[in-house]
């Protein structure tokens, strides 16, 4: 590790996750190039960018869906390469996708343990330990401060914000050290988005390193510790919170000059 540690409590040596000069091509198209940033335990790294900026490609590399063509991904300071989502998951990198991977018609507790159901008994009597699953779901959600009236209600009856929160709680329960959130607030109203950001902060406070992908600087700035701004697959810079304001983030994302141009165009009809 060569980069100087960020000032206060993070005196720990290697960051949880580090990207060094990562790039990815789809055929002739350079989807991502020269991306460098860090994710530390108990911090939120925000990845900002407009549509097509390369956010999804970055997620897919971290989640093990794609391999990087250039550069290095380091976990605890050790270079890693994930061939499949399962490998990333086993390494403690959990991804909560925009569509959540939850089944609307199924009960919350069934969703919570989907694919990782606890069992009891053996042989032909091996069965889904429903009592344990229900109880654990209730407890884990309560620990995140999520108040669910009844874990038996279908996920479909939850609001969008509640569903994001359940998905985050699930990832934390299953031992995620790095939590990647893909546009968790994009489809939500202001209030709901606030709820989700609160749970992002909860996960952070429990020592999880969070990667928050968003195109909304208003959501990113309050909760983020570090900001990576992407534009057309390239990094416009990786900033610590102290070094950048919300307005600067907004300008960077829109490509500064382009936004000024747009403002100029929109003003004209007054004449």
């Amino acid at each position: 590790m060569t980069s100087p540690p960020t000032p206060p409590m993070n005196a720990t040596n290697a960051p949880l996750l580090e990207l060094r000069d990562v790039g990815k091509d789809y055929g002739q198209v350079i989807a991502l190039d020269g991306i460098t940033t860090t994710v530390r335990a108990g911090e939120v790294t925000c990845v900002l960018g407009d549509n097509g900026a390369g956010k999804s490609t970055l997620i897919k590399i971290l989640a093990g869906v794609h391999r990087a063509d250039r550069g290095e991904v380091l976990l605890d300071g050790v270079p890693v390469e994930f061939g499949a989502p399962r490998e990333a998951l086993d390494a403690g990198i959990a991804t909560v996708y925009q569509d959540l991977a939850m089944i609307p018609l199924m009960a919350i507790w069934r969703n919570f343990f989907l694919g990782a159901e606890p069992t009891r008994g053996r042989g032909p009597f091996r069965r889904f330990d429903a009592a344990l699953a229900r109880e654990t779901t209730r407890r884990e959600l309560a620990a995140m401060g999520i108040d669910i009236r009844d874990p038996d209600q279908p996920v479909g009856t939850l609001s969008g914000g509640e569903r994001q929160s359940v998905a985050i709680a699930r990832a934390v329960h299953f031992g995620a050290r790095v939590l990647i959130l893909d546009e968790p607030t994009s489809a939500l109203g202001v209030k709901q988005a606030g709820v989700v950001l609160r749970y992002v902060a909860q996960a952070r406070d429990r020592g999880v390193g969070v990667v928050l992908i968003t195109h909304n600087p208003h959501h990113a700035h309050p909760v983020g510790d570090r900001f990576l701004v992407l534009n057309r697959g390239r990094s416009l810079g990786s900033f610590a919170k102290a070094d950048v304001t919300r307005d600067e983030l907004t300008r960077l994302m829109a490509g500064g000059a382009e936004l000024d141009q747009l403002a100029h165009e929109l003003e004209r009809p007054t004449s």
């Binding site: 569509d99 089944i103 018609l105 199924m106 989907l114 694919g115 479909g156 489809a187």
Partner: protein, 324 residues
């Protein structure tokens, strides 16, 4: 939000309707009579319901009862094998067909409706063609002359005496299979995967559910149920027509839908499908008991189906409203 609630209400209403007007219908003998068609249908409906919850249809399920019954007959009679050997061969045939259905559906991503329509037609042709080839007729008979018949009859076609009335043993199997399917659905990992695969296959795969294996297992389950019912028919009737089971596939789906299964998958229950089969059996025998023309049966069934689909639509709306 219990899937079988509507079917339960329906079953009570249908029972009351016929029982009030027909003393035969409400007698023990009457009950034993209308439970019989409900039982073989119910065994299939439960398996088809599992498959529908898993998000698929099996149009070959009906003709497969014929395929397995004919296999039992041909292997036992034409190839002079012990009946149990024939029954085992029929099981292997069923499992193979179920596997092919599931494998094709998961490999190609095509709708199971069209894949199993293909296997349905192929099996229909094979049933006729092979039966003619081996017997020169369209019937396989003499199954009761084969060694092993007594034991097979005891398992598949005996009668149980309850309160002075004889009930066919298929009714017992039906109840046990419904209970087993309910347990599997609600209390095993596999059951959880079935709901998830039918609810949203991509999402299920994202969290590590083996959706493909689950789907193939479900197709093999309907095939196994078809084997069980086919064997029951072969042993009970001792002769099998080459067109056995054709047209039944839709009846199974109707029973499952009346029982609360969504056509879109992800929701339903085994008990509901059994109640759907019960409504079917009660109506089928209740209408002649009242002295009505049997044609009314289909009208009544269609009306039940429409009612059930309308009720199920509310469930889907409920889920989709909150979807975002």
């Amino acid at each position: 939000m219990k899937p079988e609630l509507g079917a339960l209400i329906g079953a009570v209403v249908v029972f009351a309707f016929f029982a009030v007007q027909s003393p035969v219908f409400r007698s023990m003998r009457g009950i034993a009579n209308w439970m019989d068609p409900a039982s073989t249908l119910g065994i299939m409906a439960v398996a088809v319901a599992l498959l529908m919850i898993g998000g698929h249809f099996d149009l070959s399920a009906g003709v497969m009862t014929g395929t397995t019954a004919l296999t039992v007959g041909i292997v036992a009679v034409q190839f002079r094998q012990n009946l149990w050997v024939a029954i085992a061969v029929a099981l292997l045939v069923a499992l193979a067909v179920g596997f092919v259905n599931g494998w094709l559906v998961t490999r190609t991503g095509l709708p199971s409706f069209i894949i199993t329509l293909g296997t349905f037609l192929m099996l229909q042709g094979l049933n006729l063609g092979l039966t003619k080839l081996f017997t020169d007729t369209v019937t396989v008979g003499g199954i009761d002359d084969v060694p092993g018949y007594a034991a097979a009859e005891w398992v598949f076609a005996s009668r149980l005496r309850i309160a002075g009335t004889e009930f066919r043993i298929a009714i017992l199997w039906w109840v046990l299979i419904t209970a087993l399917a309910t347990w599997v659905l609600l209390r095993t990992r596999f059951g959880n995967w079935v709901f998830a695969t039918g609810g949203d296959e991509v999402a299920a795969r994202n969290v590590g559910v083996p959706a493909r294996r689950t789907t193939i297992a479900l197709f093999m389950t309907t095939a196994t149920a078809a084997w069980f019912v086919g064997t029951t028919l072969a042993v009970r009737l001792t002769s099998v027509q080459a067109n056995t089971g054709i047209g039944q596939e839709l009846t199974y789906i109707v029973a499952a839908v009346i029982g609360g299964c969504l056509l879109t998958g992800g929701f339903g229950s085994a008990v509901g499908a059994s109640l759907g089969a019960l409504i079917f059996g009660m109506t089928q025998l209740g209408i002649p008991y009242l002295g009505w023309d049997a044609d009314w049966f289909y009208f009544f069934l269609g009306a039940m189906l429409l009612l059930a689909v309308l009720a199920n639509r509310l469930v889907r709306r409920y889920a989709e409203a909150a979807r975002r």
